[in-house]
């Protein structure tokens, strides 16, 4: 194996370089020149090269490498195959944009904090690369835990505030619940031999143990991905973290959980069963609807985006679940299509959600605001950020011709393969899940009309807010580094939306390597212009032609209107039905915009509302919406844990003789059992 031309070796080098940057940030303490000016741009360069190695490996055969590190008899195994290559591409390309942005965003931090952030940030990136490259359960778990810990420290960057510390604790707790499930899953799959993935792949599991392994993997990785009911950490941790970190976590870290799910379920366990698909679909549909409905109720921008991450994980799960159903019933073509749709959405979500979090970060930096109800009219002071954010908002709302539409379209096309299935009930269930997706897509559009309309359009809502006073007197747009980062991701939204066929071919390689079967030959032979999921007469979509026609038609209209009619324009105060008293506080707020949703979906929320009575001298309206999961799941479990630990606490007597007695009894018991 030529080390330099091997993508595996090169990726390993890239991951190690991230570690080196992490370490270097600490060395010149006091003089933070490296961390301030060089660390993040260098990290972005490494990300780009990692993306290119990943891209290369998608088209090559799988490669393996054993490192002489780790425990005795347990060396680290590394492997790169099309699936790992695809996720490295995602990690590298998305992190490049975020790192450039972070270079601008963190510039104003003090030297000590900056060095720490840079250390944890690059450690986090490297650990995600190792999660993807790992080829044995041991290295995988080490990388997985490093990822959880480094991101925990990043979340609690502002640890002076108690709310952030408790958000970090919740995150760490759920991360470890998931890690335990993953560890148990590897234990279940272990069939003698060592813990390398090759051995796990070769292990023969009975259907019962395969299902146990599936459930453990699904819930273990699902906790990290943020599917219900294990999502509770997400809306707490994302707003707590600095914006580039939220972008990394939501854009990339959640995707490592999807990687883990696909790796373990499709590759290591293998022999996918359709019943598993139904479980994934049911949880996916619940996650999708729950995420978007709660997102609509939020007025904290980053919390809202976090709930949308929950929703998008649900959409990915819908694609995966459909794929598993089709594979389980022996329809590999439709199964591959579902997998391709899910992975496409994984990449899309990484790009647009990172972009949106970065946009939220720029708003926070420029105005100090995160509550939508205080914002308004930012398009005037931050026109560039407004443009990038608009692209991200249209992409996440699944509007053609941007990227979110492509993956949802592919998921719909997968659902439309339902007549292939022999099982009557499942056949009619699949379109219902597509209906869920349709509803979620339309609700997302509503939510982002709300976000964009309230934050960027209209007029500032709280004129007395100090941030607005600053903004009115020559407010500023995002810095240049921040803009480059957002521009890179916005370009990603366009490229992924306009040239889907090349990505389809790439994902087809991933599908072939996992299921042994890719898309139909007709789908693969279509030209780059046409996206064809199964056969051209069944369905096709061409975003380029679509965009060109829209542009042409709009330009012709503008030309005709300009040519035939005068262009006289007067500027005046808004009319608003001739209403005389207009204040900026009469505009819709984020909470007002969600009112129809509260009305239509009222029973789904846990709502505490106070309406002012007619006699109240100082009328106030308040509403509090809580997550039901806290009451039926989290708090009972927490109480149970408290109760159990209080009982265990009875053992602690604080006298040395009693502890010696415990040791003695344990020894006796062990001697009885071991003999």
């Amino acid at each position: 194996m030529e080390p330099l031309s091997s993508p595996l070796f090169a990726s390993l080098l890239a991951a190690v370089s991230w570690l080196v940057i992490a370490a270097l940030a600490l060395v010149p303490a006091g003089n933070a020149f490296f961390a301030r000016r060089l660390a993040f741009p260098l990290g972005a360069l490494i990300g780009l090269s990692l993306a290119s190695f990943g891209l290369q490996s998608i088209w090559l055969h799988a490669e393996q490498l054993t490192l002489p590190l780790g425990l005795p008899d347990l060396p680290f195994h590394l492997r790169i195959d099309p699936l790992a290559g695809f996720f490295l591409l995602l990690l590298g390309s998305v992190s490049a944009g975020i790192s450039v942005y972070a270079g601008g965003y963190f510039r104003t931090e003090t030297a000590g904090r900056l060095a720490l952030i840079s250390l944890q940030y690059h450690m986090f990136l490297a650990s995600m690369a190792f999660v993807i490259l790992a080829d044995d359960a041991y290295l995988f778990m080490v990388a997985w835990e490093t990822m959880a810990l480094s991101s925990y420290f990043l979340v609690t960057t502002d640890h002076e505030r108690p709310a952030i510390r408790s958000a970090g604790f919740l995150y760490l707790l759920v991360a470890h619940l998931g890690a335990i499930a993953i560890l148990l899953c590897f234990g279940v799959m272990h069939g003698g031999g060592d813990y390398s993935f090759d051995a796990l792949r070769g292990a023969e599991l009975t259907p019962f143990w395969a299902t146990v392994a599936f459930l453990l993997a699904f819930f273990g990785f699902g906790a990290k991905a943020g599917m219900i009911p294990l999502h509770a950490w997400l809306p707490e941790a994302h707003p707590a973290a600095p914006s580039p970190v939220s972008a990394l976590m939501s854009g990339i870290m959640l995707k490592t959980a999807i990687y883990g799910m696909v790796r373990v379920i499709y590759d290591l366990i293998g022999g996918v069963r359709w019943e598993w698909g139904i479980v994934v679909l049911a949880i996916g549909a619940g996650t999708t609807l729950f995420g978007v409905l709660y997102a609509l109720m939020q007025h904290d921008l980053k919390r809202l985006l976090a709930y949308h991450s929950v929703e998008n994980i649900g959409i990915i799960l819908l694609g995966l679940g459909m794929s598993m159903v089709f594979l389980g019933f022996g329809h590999p073509l439709a199964g591959a299509l579902g997998l391709v749709a899910a992975l496409y959405h994984t990449l899309n979500h990484a790009v647009f959600k990172a972009l949106l979090f970065l946009g939220a970060g720029s708003i926070l930096h420029a105005t100090g605001l995160r509550n939508l109800n205080d914002m308004g009219g930012l398009i005037r002071t931050m026109p560039k950020t407004a443009l990038y954010f608009l692209i991200g908002a249209l992409a996440i709302s699944a509007l053609p011709p941007l990227n979110g539409f492509v993956s949802e379209w592919l998921t719909f096309q997968t659902a439309l393969q339902a007549p292939l299935l022999e099982h009557g009930v499942v056949r009619s269930l699949l379109p219902l899940f597509a209906a869920t997706l349709a509803l979620a897509g339309a609700l997302t559009a509503m939510c982002f009309v709300k976000v964009y309309g309230i934050a960027f359009l209209g007029r500032p809502r709280e004129v007395r807010h100090p941030a607005h006073a600053r903004a009115e007197g020559g407010g500023h747009d995002a810095g240049s580094m921040e803009q480059y980062g957002m521009a890179w991701l916005a370009a990603g939204c366009l490229v992924l939306g306009l040239f889907p066929t090349s990505f389809l071919l790439m994902l087809n390689r991933v599908g072939v390597s996992l299921t042994g079967q890719g898309l139909s030959p007709e789908a693969l032979e279509s030209s780059w212009l046409w996206l064809v999921p199964t056969a051209p007469e069944r369905a096709s979509y061409s975003p380029i032609i679509f965009l060109l026609v829209v542009l042409a038609v709009v330009l012709i209209t503008i030309r005709l209107v300009r040519g035939f009619y005068h262009g006289r324009v007067r500027v005046a105060d808004p009319w608003d039905c001739g209403f005389p008293e207009q204040t900026t506080r009469m505009q819709d707020t984020a909470d007002a915009f969600g009112q129809p949703i509260r009305h239509v979906f009222g029973p789904l929320y846990l709502m505490k509302r106070h309406l002012p009575g007619p006699e109240e001298a100082n009328p106030r309206y308040s509403i509090k919406i809580e997550d039901r999961h806290w009451y039926w799941l989290y708090l009972p479990v927490a109480r149970l844990a408290d109760y159990a630990s209080s009982k265990v606490g009875l053992l602690q007597r604080g006298r040395i003789s009693i502890y010696l007695l415990y040791s003695f009894l344990t020894l006796i018991a062990l001697l009885i059992f071991v003999r």
């Binding site: 349709a438 369905a539 324009v569 009319w575």
Partner: protein, 315 residues
Amino acid sequence: MNQLPGIALQVLQSVLVVLVAPLVMGWVNICRAWLQNRSAPSIWLPYYTLAKLFHKDAVIANTASPLFRLTPYILFGCMWLAAGIVPVLATDVPFAPAADIIALVGVFAVARVFSALAAMDTGTSFGGLGARREMMIGFLAEPAMLMTLFTAAFISGSTQLPTIVETLAHREFAIYPSLAFAAVAFLMVLLAENARIPVDNPATHLELTMIHEAMILEYSARHLALIEWAVAIKLVAYMAIGFALFLPWGIAPAGDWSALPLALAALGAKLALAGTGLALLETLLAKMRIFLVAEFLSTAFLLGVLGMLIHFLVR
């Protein structure tokens, strides 16, 4: 393969729809006036209104951003595009493979999102109110619309509208119960999406009940003209989708130029009939309270889903 005649037909068809759309609006208004025992306005009135609006000076709110001025063009472009995707006269539309029914729903969604954003752009109280209500109707109507289209897609095994029309128009005469459900659902969605009674009233500026009108309050002159025109095209496009799914007879098959005159006559007859039906519905029904719309549209959604399930049961 020579695409030229197809492209000529495509351009002809979309220009025809754009030009005829105000006439359909005029026809609906006449029918409604007759049914309500009023003396009818001229059928050309919508054209006069458009001409008048184009000649006025535009007034733009001083709080508006460039998005506000661009939106009427985007709306008009989207509706024109939709009119190009739907096989109105012939199934030989070379543009159709670029966008199937799901993308068609996407085009309408783009138009809706931009008009809602433009409504919020001026920062007035009615704008936000209209945008919020419009998006509510949107999220209820869009899934219902997709379910209806999926039923047709399952029957014909394709999401391309020309293929759907070819399959449905040339089948042996058989009654599809699933299509009956889908048709009712589609009709309800059509009423909601085009801001017609009982969901919205296009003829009034009653401040507290308006939806679509609240969004376009700040528009004037040529921008308003483009929006009004786009609304007319949207109505015709929806009617054409309905014809393609439920009354596909008469649409000329690919490459058959001699069938075009017949197709044109059939289209005229169908549009006249649909316009009369719409006027009749609007005369018989009363506008409903805004939150009854949610029930109205969830009924449409359930009917769509039922239609789809029945297709699986009966086939």
